[in-house]
Amino acid sequence: MAAIISSNTPILIVLVLLFSAYLLPIFSKKRYKIVKWLTVVSESVLVIGGIYLAWKVLTTGQFNYILGGWEPPWGLELTIDPLSVFFIITVGLISLPIAIYSLPNMACQVHGERRAGWFFTLFLLHIAGLCGMAFSRDLFNLYVFIEVTTISAVALVAADNSAASIEAAFKYLIMATLGSGFILAGIGIMYIITGNLNMIFVRRELALVWTDYPHALWIACSFFLVGFGIKSAVFPLHSWLPDAHSAAVTPASALLSGLAVKGFIIGLIKVLYIAIGVDIFTALGISTLLRILGMISLIAGSIFALSQHQLKRRLAFSTIAQLGYVFLGLGIGNEAAISGALFHIISHGLIKSVLFLAAGSIISQSGETEISQLAGIGKKMPYTMGAFTAASLAMIGIPLFSGFVGKWNMILGSLESANWLAAIVIIVGSLLAAGYLLPIVRTAYFETGNTANIKEVSRSQLIPVLVLAAFIIIFGCFPSYILELTRQAATMLLFN
């Protein structure tokens, strides 16, 4: 039994999440307690499985899992390499606290226990999609998981049934489906050029024939860039994100902002680095494009965030800015910059979920959504606001917080490739982050307002936020394990 579980861990992680997702609606009508337990158990399976796979990869190296015994050109293959394991750990560490935070009061947020059961179905489906995306090595398999993730994300945005959230969800659906169309067309062109869908075979074939079809490959690359760019909200294609992430219920916005957009970046990394290969897409000029897009969305997202007066909208725009860092790191394209960008994925996931969960607690306790009306709340909700402050400092990139490690590695990488502009943009982005986050902290602590009836949230909602905030500080002080994983992932992407 133990041998079967340990040799099939990758597929079991995804299957447990999918099965429990579809079991939840059965229990949600009468036995809501089972819904809670099943969600927590399947999330814990994800965390334990992720850590086990990471240990296996760090000790014995990467390996492939062949589904059903059908060898690669015919069957599907899952890859357990540093990149996928890194993302599985990210998903597990961030989604488990979000699930625990959302369990006690989801029923009143989405009007009824029955709908809450469906909410957790979508929640687990979304996470299963993200895990499948990280594992899959087949282009079409990747597309299917992208669609699972996208559709469940759209439904999560619409979960609370209010006018604003349904409108935002429709906008998100139209944009995201446009993106899926571009991705599928790109996959079609890749299949026409190479006759394969397995990424390793595609790359082997492309290395031989790409000089014969440079224009077709160019079109495929730009389709992938536009498709994944829409889904991960890179600057000119970001218009759906602020509405969707600010209108959704709190756990959904934390999940979407912290994990979903990063999942699509992992998809882009897999397509560009594993299926196409770093030499070919650099020769096509895609990495220059990634660098420019990253810089523009970093600066523009930060400036838009500065001009927002609503708490959740400001956080949503800051997501666009922080994803700019990841694109910039990938565009610089040396080992330090890529490992910094990957570290920024986990660190920003933790930071943004703390910020959104804390903001949700503050909004639900005070009933205020404007930043200017939060005066004096720091004294009434000391723990929530303390977590918010720690996350703000980490976002700015203060040493000993996790945001620093990723940015430091990216600056090292950009200096290594003599790209002064990128280094300056990274530092300016940090200053702008201080500009849009610290005023919230100042208003909350140092201004006095009418806060007589506000009290701290219940313990079950406080502990997950504090645990996430503790991870920000732990990864900031002891980043070595995660950094080792991201370094190995970067080496694998560049030299394999």
């Binding site: 759209v154 409108e167 139209i174 599928l184 067309a185 079609g188 062109i189 299949y191």
Partner: protein, 133 residues
């Protein structure tokens, strides 16, 4: 120039697929009616199905079922057909979700036009903030 035109004529399914893709994108972006946007999505996805199916088609080929009496038969690649069945399922579920959202929006705002919905929402927001002041 003539060679390019000749290539375009021989590969007419690809040309058709990309024209349809353009029409679909254009419909999504330009039309403000939500239902027309959804139709645009469906046109775009169908164009991609056409691209995949055309890629594996062979003139005069038969379905890939082994025929011992005719060893010289040319078979069509079945992989893309199977993939597009999955693609159709995905497109169906997207359409269903979008229709559900359109029905909800129509009940809430009494319109299916994006501009009208935008204006009504702004009115609601302005009057809401006015009441708070």
């Amino acid at each position: 120039m003539q060679t390019i035109i000749a290539k375009l004529i021989t590969n007419y399914p690809y040309v058709g697929a990309f024209i349809l893709f353009g029409i679909g994108c254009f419909t999504i972006i330009v039309n403000s009616n939500l239902l027309k946007k959804l139709i645009g999505i469906n046109i775009m996805e169908s164009s991609i199905f056409l691209l995949f199916i055309a890629a594996s088609n062979i003139h005069g080929g038969t379905a890939p079922i082994l025929d011992p009496t005719n060893p010289e038969a040319v078979y069509i690649n079945p992989v893309t057909t199977a993939l597009m069945l999955t693609g159709i399922v995905v497109s169906l579920s997207v359409t269903a979700l979008a229709l559900a959202l359109i029905i909800k929006l129509y009940r809430l705002y009494g319109s299916m036009d994006a501009h009208v919905i935008f204006m009504k929402r702004n009115e609601v927001q302005n009057s809401g903030s006015h009441n708070q002041q």
